[in-house]
Amino acid sequence: MRKLKDRAARYGIATGGLGVIVAITLIFFYLLFEVVPLFRSADVHKQVAYSLPVTAGESLYLAMEEQAEIGLQVSSSGEAKFFDTQDGSLRLQSQLPVPAGVTVSAFAESAPGSNLLIAGLSNGSAIIFKHDYKITWPNDQRLITPFIEYPYGEEPITVSEGFPLDEVAIRDSEEVLTIAGSSGGQLFMTRLNKEVDFLTEEITLTREQVTMPMIGGKVRRLLLDPDRKWLFALSGNDDLSVLDIKSLVPYVKRVVPLAEDSHTVTSLEFLLGGISLLAGDSDGNISQWFMVRNQSGKEDLTRIRSFKQGDAVITSIIPEHRRKGFLALDSAGVLGLYSTTANRQVLTTKIADQNVAFTGIAPRANGLLVRTGDDMAFWSVENEHPEVSWSALWDEVWYESYGEPEYIWQSSASNNDFEPKLSLMPLAFGTLKAAFYAMLLATPLAICGAIYTAYFMAPGMRRKVKPVIELMEALPTVILGFLAGLWLAPYVENNLPGIFSLLILLPFGVLLFAWFWDRLPLSIRGRVGEGWQAAMLVPVILIFGWLAMSLSGAMESLFFGGDMRSWITHDLGIPYDQRNALVVGLAMGFAVIPTIFSIAEDAIFSVPKHLSYGSLALGATPWQTLTKVVLLTASPGIFSAVMIGMGRAVGETMIVLMATGNTPIMDANIFEGMRTLAANIAVEMPESEVGSSHYRILFLAALVLFLFTFVVNTLAEMVRHRLRQKYSSL
């Protein structure tokens, strides 16, 4: 029975003990588990294939609704067919009100995912329609009913007064509907201004025809930007005319040659948001362009980055509806998945042997309809985190509407059109900046303090000082952060000269006191025991500290025109935040001092005594013994103390959160704030959507912190271990 109990205890404790250890390692593996999907490559595979319900004419448009259950195909005969994406069965068929004897000659969608479509007709008018879906729950089963609606009436709207439309473009807003069209090299633009009767809420439209300039060559592609500022017209010789249509009389602002060498542009689309243009050419290149303000302040269409898919002709570019990514197809049947921000070709894969006739993407970018000949295939797409890549996280990225590549962290999005800026650089920089200023204060104070405490201090005083330092270590950082943010930050702002003069006055005061003390006759000096200097210095520090602070105002009016803060901002031109790196350095330095102090003190104190006795016996002064013997021996321990202190400073959250403005800027200026990795997690994690790229990047930030501190601490621990062995062998 006792044996049994003994064995049970053995196994129980072993399982319990190992369980705890496993639980601890779980932290690392779980963080990794959440981060890994970020770097997993995408995957597409064919789910089903079927032949389409017979349609007259070629496809003009292929789309799916939110759930990717129902697809829509619009063909050149003016037929709109909704079908089941899983088996191709027809759900609804609708004929656009195309007048007799007229054909659909042009087709466009407003913005990807807006579902607002325009069919340009051969008689110069256009039909505007929308596909929409109603969701009902009969018997707790989701039922999606598609329908076509005509928000501006079924009557075609005249755009070009009889010229057959080759290309159309449309943009809708609260106040105005803008339609652009082209016939050969002739451009047309119609604006329908909306006036809402505020009583009946009825909309009356007033039509306005805008005179447009001529373009050289036949227009092959027409794109209208969402702000209705620019109209892009691609003409026969691959020149892209950029028209300013905000001005009273639209004019060609610029003509930009899009193609390089002898290639021709074969596909031109907007990226989500309508800021960037994507141009695919006959040699398999895809380039991204957007308007950038150059040095002289003029806007110019600039090539931002390009991708190379293969050697085949890019036949179509399909922008995603929710992200800054797109798909590209070439004539060899290769599909490419891209993310522009991340500058990343996520995947290229061959999906068909023959030329693909048409493709459409699901709003959630999780499905793809591919039509080849009369066959339709539904491909499922797994592409969770295309916007994350090494370069997106750590390199400068040229974001949309920015003048040049930059490091920016700006994760919050007001809408889908926003380009998430997920550079970890400003955060990593902020982390190191905060740690640097903290270490600047903490390292000298802590190490000097440790040297004195371990080597010179009287044991009686040491017993009193050590608990004080331990208490300092135990102080909750939230209290330090609160004091730093609400008391220290305004105090520092009001007493800047005083704070800086402390740096000079305190050492000066100490030396002055020491000088006179050492001149005093031995009878007086002898009354204070050896090793009590620190206690005597407390009043000295207080007096000189008070002196510095009370002189602060005088110094301000003497040297800085009365207000040092405004002197810094106006005369030096350095921006000043109230909650800045100086405040963080002081507060976090305070938090780090005890960590470094305890470990360094331990290392110095445990240097074997016979070493220093030997040195002293040979006639060295205590100070010589300290610098030449003790510190040399203890230096690895001091080094590891600094490392561990650094680890603490890097991971500290509350102080930085409360004592800085948390703006993710990259500037080493001591008078500006920063945002650190840890504070960023605390700020953004609660609002982050589970499983999103942003969520996983925050996990990545946590993993980086974990690994950094773990590695630093392990190194420090190893150094200390070696040191302990060395001591024991001495």
């Binding site: 006792r2 109990k5 072993a14 319990g16 003990g17 190992l18 705890v20 250890i21 601890i24 390692t25 932290i27 779980y30 963080l31 000298p444 000097c448 303090g449 004195y452 405490t453 010179f456 208490l471 135990a474 909750p476 950082t477 939230v478 209290i479 609160f482 004091l483 609400l486 009001n494 006191f513 000088w515 050492d518 200097q533 620190a534 210095l537 407390v538 000295v540 105002g553 005088a554 009016s557 009365g562 207000d563 405004s566 002064t621 205590p622 010589q624 300290l626 991971g651 500290e652 509350m654 959160l657 997690i681 994690m685 996990f699 946590a702 912190l705 974990f706 501190t709 392990t714 190893m718």
Partner: protein, 556 residues
């Protein structure tokens, strides 16, 4: 010449360097003690009834206004800053005193603090009959009492008004506590019962056992609760009518007449008329309110009892989790595992985990406990409450477990140290007497190591009580509607969010709309937290020292 040589000799002797090092210690000590003093002074000072000052205030070029209130802060600023702010320069002095006066009356004047430049204050007086009213909303009121009314008709005015007001407030307080009891306790109880019935119904529906009899049962219980509710509602209506019976009329310093219902007043006092002992009594009262009452006015007034309670609950649950696991892990590492490379690696790893930033634990807790474990638990055990999560959202349990994980290294390290200090002779003696290893462990080793475990636990508690960053992710809220422990089934609400002292400091100090008003309370909260942590730490130190002495004796 001689002087110079002496200085260089002095430096050569190394003495100045020693002094500078001593200075570093002195600076550190001054910093710690100064910080504690700052918190103590600001935190404790807040409750003292400072005098109400009344004065005329004239910004040159503007018309004279009258201000009355309590001085909250004084600071010296360069006169240049006033000029920069577009004000005239007062005199030719470079530095100007300015005072922050808490003028209250937010409902009348809009803001309850004003900065005044001291030289522009005239005719400063301390009117004896000035009153300060602490109200449930709109902050403090400062003014002069005119009369007290019942149902609109004056019952006392002039010198009797003050006594009548005190009686009236006492009566309102009494009714308020009855209302509070009904609203929070009894109606809360009924609501929790109704919610349980709803969940039961849904759960029957999910299981497909929602037979008419079962549903009728539920409907019957619901009817009982509804009937009880009706009674309470009636009672509450009567109480409210009685509650708002009295009102007062008061006059502000700038001669506005204000009607204030007594039900809105928490406390009325005349600091200028109070004697020293009256002030001390008032002070004690305020401190008691601070530690025992619920917060008012978006946490900027009143007490912090729910935060204290939440912190204590969290720490207790955390201790229950961390102690056995920490001790078992330490015992395994020290007594059972084969000492070698692997145990050394584990030891280093455990040690280093203590240095991993706490926010990382928070991220882990949120991802693994809340979103992963919690949502799976919800699907398994609480499907009836879905889609609103039960454990799939931050709460007390997850916060406690996360902090248990965070403090695990502390307990393991401390326990291991305790175990390693027990001389092997003691173990060998026990084994030689025929005890098994488990018996030795249970009867001899663990009791001897118990002070070490205690030390570890105390340090863990001290760390947990001050930790905020991970809690922000896994369970704290700025204002919890109820305590995590109450009279409603299942009594201990592990799934609820809770309030925490540390988070309270962060939230009130930084997220509050009225930071100026909240600041003294934050200092007081910080002081409380510092005291708790200091006491815990010092007791850990004391236990450790005691322990060392004990084993020294054993070794001899």
């Amino acid at each position: 010449m001689t002087m110079k040589i002496t200085v260089s000799n002095w430096f050569k002797s190394g003495s100045p360097w020693v002094w500078l090092n001593a200075g570093a210690v002195a600076v550190s000590v001054v910093m710690v003690l100064g910080l504690l003093a700052l918190i103590a002074v600001r935190g404790l000072g807040h409750f003292w009834p400072t005098a109400i000052v009344a004065a005329d205030y004239t910004i040159p070029g503007n018309s004279q206004v009258q201000v009355m209130g309590q001085i909250a802060d004084v600071e010296e600023i360069p006169a240049q800053r006033l000029v920069d702010a577009g004000l005239p320069k007062p005199g030719n002095k470079a530095l100007i005193d300015r005072q922050l006066i808490k003028v209250g009356n937010r409902d009348v004047s809009g803001s309850d603090f004003v900065w005044v430049v001291k030289p522009w204050l005239q005719n400063v007086s301390h009117p004896k009959d000035a009153i300060a009213l602490e109200r449930r909303e709109w902050g403090n009121f400062y003014g002069f009492l005119k009369d007290v009314r019942q149902n609109g008709s004056v019952v006392a005015s002039g010198t009797e008004a003050w006594a009548a007001l005190q009686d009236s407030i006492e009566r309102a307080e009494d009714i308020y506590s009855q209302i509070y009891k009904i609203e929070k306790k009894e109606i809360g109880h009924i609501n929790s019962g109704l919610e349980r019935l709803r969940l039961k119904e849904r759960s029957l529906e999910l299981k497909g056992t929602n037979t008419p009899e079962a549903l009728a049962d539920i409907a019957a219980s619901r009817a009982v609760l509804d009937a009880e509710y009706k009674v309470l509602e009636k009672e509450l209506g009567d109480l409210y009518a009685a509650f708002t019976r009295d009102s007062i009329q008061a006059q502000t310093i700038d001669n506005n007449i204000v009607d204030i219902n007594v039900s809105k007043i928490v406390r009325a006092y005349q600091p200028n008329a109070m004697g020293f002992f009256g002030k001390v009594g008032f002070y004690g009262d305020k401190i008691w309110e601070f530690v025992s009452d619920d917060p008012r006015e978006a946490n900027t007034e009143g007490g912090i009892f729910p935060a204290i309670f939440g912190t204590v609950m969290m720490v207790i649950i955390m201790s229950i989790i961390v102690t056995p696991f920490g001790v078992i892990a330490a015992v395994y590492l020290r007594e059972y595992a084969k000492q070698g490379f692997v145990t050394r690696v584990i030891r280093v790893a455990v040690n280093n985990l203590a240095g991993v930033p706490s926010i990382v634990y928070g991220v882990f807790g949120l991802g693994f406990f809340v979103y992963f474990l919690g949502s799976h638990m919800d699907q398994l055990f609480f499907p009836e409450a879905l889609p609103s999560p039960t454990f799939g959202t931050p709460g007390l349990l997850w916060a406690s477990i996360t902090l248990a994980l965070l403090t695990l290294p502390v307990v393991i390290v401390a326990t291991e140290e305790g175990l390693s200090r027990i001389p092997s002779t003691v173990r060998e003696g026990s084994l030689a007497l025929g005890a098994t290893k488990a018996e030795t462990l249970w009867r001899v080793v663990l009791p001897m190591a118990s002070p070490a475990m205690m030390t570890g636990l105390i340090l863990a508690v001290a760390r947990a009580a001050g930790e905020v960053a991970p809690l922000m992710l896994v369970g704290v809220v700025k204002l919890a509607p109820s305590l995590p422990l109450d009279g409603n089934y299942p009594f201990l609400h592990l799934d609820q969010k809770f309030m925490h002292l540390g988070f309270h400091i962060y939230d009130v100090g930084f997220q509050s709309p009225n930071v100026e008003a909240a600041r003294p309370l934050v200092y007081a909260t910080a002081l409380l937290l510092v005291i708790v942590i200091a006491v815990l730490n010092l007791s850990a130190v004391a236990i450790r020292n005691h322990l060392r002495e004990k084993y020294k004796a054993l070794e001899i």
